[in-house]
Symmetry: C2
Subunit: 68 residues, 2 copies
Amino acid sequence: MEKVTLNVSGMSCGHCEKAVKGALMELAGVTNVVVHLSTGKVDVEFEPSKVSIDQLKEAIEEQGYDVA
Amino acid sequence: MEKVTLNVSGMSCGHCEKAVKGALMELAGVTNVVVHLSTGKVDVEFEPSKVSIDQLKEAIEEQGYDVA
């Protein structure tokens, strides 16, 4: 299990939080997601043998947010 | 048919817009809704014999937004 913190811009409300968290939790290998709206940071616990950080970023970008 | 413009605070993104528009359009008597995110104004066309302005405001407040 690994942890990564992604910096996401454009998340402004609880709906945004749910959209990002939901998209990440749908990925096989992601076991926990915590979204910090005020800072734009997203903590993700994942199994690197099952999912890559690039795939995490893509899932967020598909929801319409930018990942630094 | 009547038109009213409500001033709503806290709508910050497209998800908020959809939540408010969806809640209003579900009410019998509401025929059109336009949300202006940048100003917080919500234009509602409605049939006053079927739905009251107070009911419009309640529907928005139930989504978690304040109506002036």
